[in-house]
Amino acid sequence: MMVHVRLLIAGLVLLTLAACDNQPPITIGVVLSSEGQAGAQLAIDELNESGGINGRPVALRVAAAGASTLAGPALAAAESLTADRSVVAVVGHSNSSASLSASQIYNARRLVHIAPTSSSPMLTIAGPYTFRMVGSDIHQARFLADAVMSGPGPHRIAAIYVNDDYGHALYREVRRQLTYRGITTVFHAKYAENRDISHPSEVIAGLVAAGATHLLWLGRSPQLMAITGSLRSELPGLRVIASDGTQNATALRNHGGALTGVRVVSFLSPDTTSANTASLRARYRATSNQPFTAEIALAYDAVRLIASAVRAAGTDRERVREYLAGVGTEHPAHRGASGDIRFDGDGDPRASYHLVEIAAP
């Protein structure tokens, strides 16, 4: 009799283990640029190497290209990811326009998304299911204003910004901060997202005519790289300070040295003594020869953060959100490669900015 009971128990255990092995992977959606995807993938690989989350493997579901930066595709990607019940959370999108547009879908359908690099002030009020890894541009504007005003004068400040949710809002905030400091911009120009400045010579002529001493670049690196050569020749003493949107692998590679000397806002501390950052950098470089950017670290941290939430709260979307909302309050701060992560009541982390000068290649 006892033999039969033992056999029965053993069979039940085997069945349970088999069921566990056949459990579907935990899926995390990713809507990022290539750099962000690399960081997310690194996190996924490390998680799976260490046994997954609660014994379950983790998988990424990567959205179509363009969804990370464009609003239209971002809406479609959000709709698709929210409909997939296996997706427990989303890391994305890359820029503020895409994140803002998609945030309403995520919030309406109750799926957490963590935007690693979106800094638009409007994202703070996007909803309880929206989190981000960087502070609001309200803080960056102050930082930029302080940065541009530091050093000896005169301070004839020009601004060129990408005319989207990111650049438009950042420029507005910067201008407000400069106004608080008694400074008005001597020149400003705007360009469209994903388009080059159509008439760079006119822009440079405008900068020259305005006698700008400082240029606040509130945009992307390709467009800056396209004009820095001319800028240096026309305005050799021009001090260029770029916002965080400029920092990417391309900028850090600094092919041709176009961006040499440009100071860029970085979310990562240049201090290489940060163990987590150094470790991640080392691991990343082991898998890729691309420059290690803030987006990589922030995407990596976002995935690890989601993994922590799922490990603690399970795969229920609502419980994942509740966990993330309590990071830094009810739950310990997340020690990430980008630093300690704590969310306030709006899902915003504590803002941390560093000004990094792009070195010569």
């Binding site: 239209g72 309403q104 360009y191 008439h199 006119e202 002529a205 005519a209």
Partner: protein
């Protein structure tokens, strides 16, 4: 049925309350639904207002964009910081408005449309700036071309905005339709719920009414009917088990109660019969007790009357004797004229007293041979005066030798009742005489009481208990009933009808009895003159002791005995008599029976029996109440030795002489008890 002091909530009230509760629920549902509908309407109104606001916003966007176009034109014509600021300001307005849609609830298509408009606007602004730069660089044609492009973009943007608004309108229309559908569904649902509630309530009420309330009403009415005395009523069979069980239980209980009631009724009838019998017996007992009381009273009265009567009669007779021996014929005539009537009246009074005593004598429930004539004489003696007073005749035509075996006293009562009834009828209704006849008819004796009075109006009812034609308070209605009972008990027959004289007739037929031996009749008559008629010689001078508490009687006896030549010694009570007897010898003792003191005549006789046994046979007893003379004990003495007061002097003397002479004969012994 009386209401209980704490009336319970009736089922009907519960039903009504339930219906009201249902109605309240329905009303609450309706109110809630109405509130929801109102809120839906408010949402719809809000939507409409939001639509209007959106339209305004859209108009503002378009206006801002076109404002930017205008500013662009001005900037190209007259570049200035103000124009640029105006352009930027309008651009910010449009940007803010467009981003204002971000947090609104809209369809995916609308969102995509907004993003497209926004991107369009952003491109428009960049293009404007390019145009401005062209203008600054002196490239006017490029600048104008840029502005024309701006116009196209503005138109495109306006079209996109219109398209967006259409989408929004469509969304709102869809929402309105959806809300309208919801409202309709709510209204229909509420109506259905309300109607269903009402129908269910009514059905429930009807169901309860049919299956609970009605059966309960039926049970109640049946119970009330049962309570009113209709014990045969039952609850009909019910449809449902529970109610049927209640009905069955009630019916079983009712059947048992009916049976018990029937038993009780039967017992009641028996009890009533027994009670009637008891009442009759009580009436009879009361009557007998009354009679007994009267009898006792009469006995006492008779005794008290007999003594003086004896004195009067004795003295009168002695006087008569003295006057008869007077030489003067005139004196002798005095005896005839004056003393004889005295003697007659005294005898008459004594006879009356004796009849009263006989009438009052308790029935000893033993039948005895009774002479009808003698018994009727007693009744005549008691009722004759009343007839005489009323001027009616009471005539007896009864043979002397008719005997019956009955309780003498009761027979006398029967005769008294019949005579009294006849007299009362004649007094109230007319008539002059009652004729009482008695004849022998083979082994029967037939007695008839006939009068010429008004007769019987309901002869078949006259023997019924309590039936009377007399005025209230003058009769119990039991007289003839007792007559009937007496006749029935002696196995006789009685019939009532109309007399040949025109009045009432009652005929009684009884079994005839043989005549008793001629020696003795219980009425106390004794042949005191027997010895005188036989001519026995006088015993000579004897010593006689007379014991009597009445001085007059002592004197009369002394005179009588002295005339007979005896020596008389007188004693006034038993104690004196005993003391005399102790001291002296006597030949005969004549003693009254009832005397005051510790020793009465019986006591003296006992003493004689104990101390002078030879004298016991020579004791003569005199009593005023021959019937009730001795209380307790019995004295075995011949009846001849008992003389009733008032006595005849001759009878007295003859009895004394007989006793003193040898050869005294006394065939029966009267037991005086």
């Amino acid at each position: 049925m009386p209401r209980s002091p704490n009336p319970r909530v009736s089922l009907r009230r519960l039903l009504v309350g339930g219906a009201l509760a249902m109605a309240t629920v329905a009303a609450v549902v309706m109110v809630i639904s109405a509130t929801y509908l109102v809120s839906l309407q408010r949402d719809a109104d809000r939507d409409v207002r939001a639509g209007l606001v959106e339209q305004e916003t859209a108009d503002d966007i378009v206006a801002a964009v076109y404002g930017q176009i205008m500013a662009s034109y001005r900037q190209l014509q007259m570049p200035s910081t103000a124009n640029m600021e105006r352009f930027d300001s309008l651009g910010s307005t449009a940007f803010d408005h467009l981003r204002g849609y971000l947090f609104q609830d809209m369809s995916m298509a609308a969102r995509r449309q907004v993003e497209a408009i926004r991107e369009l606007h952003q491109s428009l602004e960049v293009d404007a700036y390019d145009a401005f730069e062209h203008a600054k660089g002196g490239h006017q044609s490029r600048a104008h071309a840029g502005v024309v492009q701006l116009e196209l973009r503005a138109n495109e943007l306006e079209t996109s905005v219109d398209g967006f608004m259409e989408l929004r309108d469509r969304d709102r229309a869809a929402r309105r339709d959806h809300q309208a559908a919801i409202r309709w569904r709510v209204v229909v649902g509420v109506a259905l719920v309300t109607v269903s509630l009402i129908v269910v309530t009514l059905l429930f009420i009807r169901l309860l009414q049919r299956h609970v309330v009605n059966p309960l009403d039926q049970l109640q009415s049946t119970a009330m009917e049962f309570g009113r005395g209709n014990l045969s009523v039952r609850v009909p069979k019910q449809r449902h088990e529970e109610m049927n069980n209640v009905s069955l239980s009630f019916n079983v209980m009712a059947a048992r109660m009916q049976q018990a009631h029937h038993q009780i009724e039967l017992q009641n009838v028996e009890l009533n019969g027994a009670l009637a019998g008891l009442k009759d017996a009580q009436q009879e007992l009361v009557q007998q007790e009354k009679l007994s009381a009267i009898g006792l009273m009469l006995a006492g009265l008779a005794h008290e009357l007999n003594n003086p009567l004896a004195g009067i009669l004795g003295a009168a007779q002695c006087l008569r004797g003295e006057l008869q021996e007077h030489a003067d014929p005139g004196v002798r005539r005095l005896g005839d004229d004056l003393v004889d009537p005295l003697v007659t009246q005294a005898r008459r009074a004594g006879e009356l007293v004796r009849n009263l005593l006989l009438f009052s004598r308790k029935s000893d429930a033993e039948r005895e041979t009774v002479n009808i004539k003698t018994a009727l004489d007693v009744a005549v003696g008691l009722r004759g005066y009343a007839f005489a007073q009323a001027g009616k005749d009471l005539i007896l035509e009864v043979a002397e030798d008719l005997f019956i075996e009955v309780e003498a006293q009761r027979f006398e009562h029967v005769a008294m009742n019949l005579m009294t009834n006849a007299l009362d009828a004649m007094v109230s209704g007319g008539g002059t005489r009652l004729l009482v006849r008695g004849i022998a008819l083979r082994d029967r004796v037939v007695l008839t009481f006939e009068d010429d009075g008004p007769g019987f109006t309901e002869p078949e009812r006259i023997f019924d208990p309590f039936y009377t034609t007399k005025p209230v308070g003058t009769g119990t209605g039991l007289g003839l009933t007792l007559v009937h009972r007496f006749v029935t008990e002696v196995e006789g027959s009685i019939a009532a009808g109309t007399s040949s004289l025109g009045g009432a007739r009652i005929a009684i037929v009884l079994h005839a009895a043989e005549a008793p031996p001629p020696a003795l009749a219980v009425t106390g008559e004794h042949r005191a003159t027997f010895a005188i008629a036989q001519g026995l010689p006088s015993p000579g001078r004897s010593r006689v002791l007379v014991v009597d508490d009445e001085p007059a009687l002592r004197e009369v006896q002394r005179r009588i005995l002295t005339r007979l030549g005896h020596d008389v010694t007188l004693a006034c009570d038993g104690a004196e008599a005993v003391s005399i007897l102790e001291a002296d010898e006597f030949d005969i003792v004549i003693t009254d029976i009832r005397m005051p003191g510790a020793l009465d005549g019986v006591g003296v006789y006992r003493w004689i029996q104990a101390h002078r046994p030879s004298l016991a046979d020579r004791c003569l007893f005199i009593t005023g109440d021959i019937v009730h003379s001795v209380a307790g004990g019995s004295l075995d003495i011949p009846a001849e030795r008992v003389l009733a007061k008032p006595f005849d002097v001759h009878e007295y003397g003859a009895l004394v002489t007989d006793m003193l002479a040898e050869g005294l004969c006394s065939p029966s012994i009267a037991s005086v008890s």
